[in-house]
Each structure stands twice: as C-alpha cells, then as structure tokens.
Symmetry: C2
Subunit: 149 residues, 2 copies
DNA sequence: GTGGTTGCAAAAAGTTTGCAGGCTC
DNA sequence: GAGCCTGCAAACTTTTTGCAACCAC
C-alpha cells in the first residue's frame, strides 16, 4: 500500500526503535532521490540547503546508523584504508563484514561471466571483481561461543 | 625461467623506467609474501623491521607508483570516501576508474550466480556484488577528444 | 520527563605534498 | 653527474568522539 519511500523509512525507523528526526528524514530524502552514490560530503551539502544548521558529524552518525539497520547500504565496505595485493591472477574476494578480512578465491566458473551486449557497448569493461560479503569461519565460531555464554 | 617474484619485480621496474631502490624492494617483498591484503600501515610496520628509517610517506608513494604500473594492485579502488546507496534491490556496479563514478546495473543473469559447495560450507555468504571496472562513456569520449587535439 | 539525538569543537586516522639531501643508473 | 627517489614535517581530508543542549516519543 505504501510505496512512498519516506513512509517506508518512517516504518523502518519505528521497527528498529529509532526516533524519526528531521535530520534523519532529510538525510534519507537526499539519498533516496540521489541518482548516483553520494558520499557523506555530498549528502551534507545537499541537506544544508534545507537545514543550514545541520552538522557534518550528524550526517556521518546518521549514515552509520541507517546502514547498521540496512535501511540504506554502504557501497564501499572497505573504504577506510586502501588495501593492496600482489597476486595479479584473476581472482575474487570474500570479505568478512565482521573482522574486515579479505580472503582470495579462485574458481574457474567466475572467470567467464557473460556480459550483456548493451553493457559492453556503452561501458568499456576492463575487468570485474566479485565481492562476496559474509562471515568468515573464525567469526562464525566466535559468535557461537558468545551465544553459548 | 624466472619465477622468483623479486626477479620479476626488478624486470618490471626496469621495463617502466623505475629505479630499483631498497625501499621499493622492501615494500614489494612484504606485499608478495603477505597472505592477506595489507594496508599501507601494515606494510609500513613490516618494512620497519628491516629498514627502521623508512617513512610512511615513502610507503604510500611507492604503493601508488607500483599500482600505477600494475606491478601490484589496489584491491579497494573506492576506499577514499564512503559511498551510500538507498536502492535495496540486488544490483551491481560499474566503476569508472577515471572519474570514479559508480553506475548501477541490473541484469537477472547476475542474480543467480552458482556458488561452489566448499565455498558455501566455510564462509557464510550473505550477498555478493559484482564490480565492473572500466571507462564510462563520458570519459571515453573525453579521452578521444584529447587524442585528436 | 526521559532517553535517544544533535551540534560543536576537537581529535584521530589516513593520505598527500614540498623541499632538501641521497641514491640509482 | 643527473635526475629520480626518500625522509621529514607539515598540511589536508575524511571520519570519530565527548559533552552539553535539545527534541521525539
């Protein structure tokens, strides 16, 4: 019944026990209307137009909170520090969302992904990487231990 | 004939006209031996053991230089700022390595990737994202214009 | 009213830059 | 020896934090 993103947003907040503040609404509106993938700074500049007193720190806190409850998502789970790799063979990555470890995986099946023609025609694809997000074995056993305690 | 990474490294440097310095060798050795995907800081700490006078700035410069010539690779092309997204539908991304724009793509073909059993058994996969890296149409036409000039 | 949120300012974390001196080729 | 490269320190950018004031419920 409710296909209004703002309505959904309010429901989501209530579901998770989050207060619906003007700031959160404003941040959410900007993200949901934005065509691309805005950074905190982008969002800040946009929200400022409507709420000139909002603080950048609030933007960060809000984004972190909303990501935590999956109301929005962080496109770049590993943005905080650059990571480097020597292995020049084609391979893909498992990223543990808990400990942020990256594990290499190589399966031939992933090396010949079919690319749609209209994609290839517009965008010059040089390579692709598949990022699997999840929980690594170590973190799985840790969280089990905690539940048992 | 030469499967020694260090030998290959020296060749690569010469090929690109880069001086082979102790610092670059040390950085390279750490990366090529490292099991995971070290950050600049990780590499710095490791290199310090052997060259206590190296500077963190040198590590950064070296990593940037080596990435530029594809001697090593940066696992996280978008690490510099966090990017957020409202779209909660499953979708994948095109990343323009030139202007760093992110473009959403949705093709059903990518939504049912086959996952190997041993992968699923060890790592609890929650979702996956395919990142296509390449050049967006705008940047392609820009670089064509430049070549013509 | 109460507890969750915000604004502010300051600090932390990560990265880049300018310049003088040093090292590779 | 020439020019590239490094160390140092300082600056810059992005993000986080502590605390008092404030607002949603």
């Amino acid at each position: 019944m409710n296909i209004d993103p703002v309505g959904l947003f309010i429901e989501d907040c209530k579901k998770h026990g989050l207060n619906v503040t003007y700031q959160r609404l404003a941040v959410f509106k900007v993200i949901s209307k934005h065509k691309g993938h805005p950074s905190a700074e982008d969002i800040y500049r946009e929200v400022l137009k409507e709420y000139p007193r909002i603080s950048l720190a609030t933007i960060y806190t809000t984004l972190e909170t909303l990501s935590k409850y999956s109301i929005i998502s962080k496109v770049t789970p590993l943005h905080d520090t650059a990571r480097y790799d020597y292995d020049q063979e084609v391979h893909h990555h498992l990223i543990c969302i808990n400990c942020r470890k990256i594990i290499d995986i190589k399966y031939d099946e992933f090396d010949y992904l079919w690319l749609p023609d209209d994609l290839k025609q517009n965008f010059k694809v040089l390579n692709y990487k598949i990022q699997f997000e999840g929980i690594c074995p170590q973190c799985q056993s840790k969280s089990n231990q905690q539940q048992e305690t």
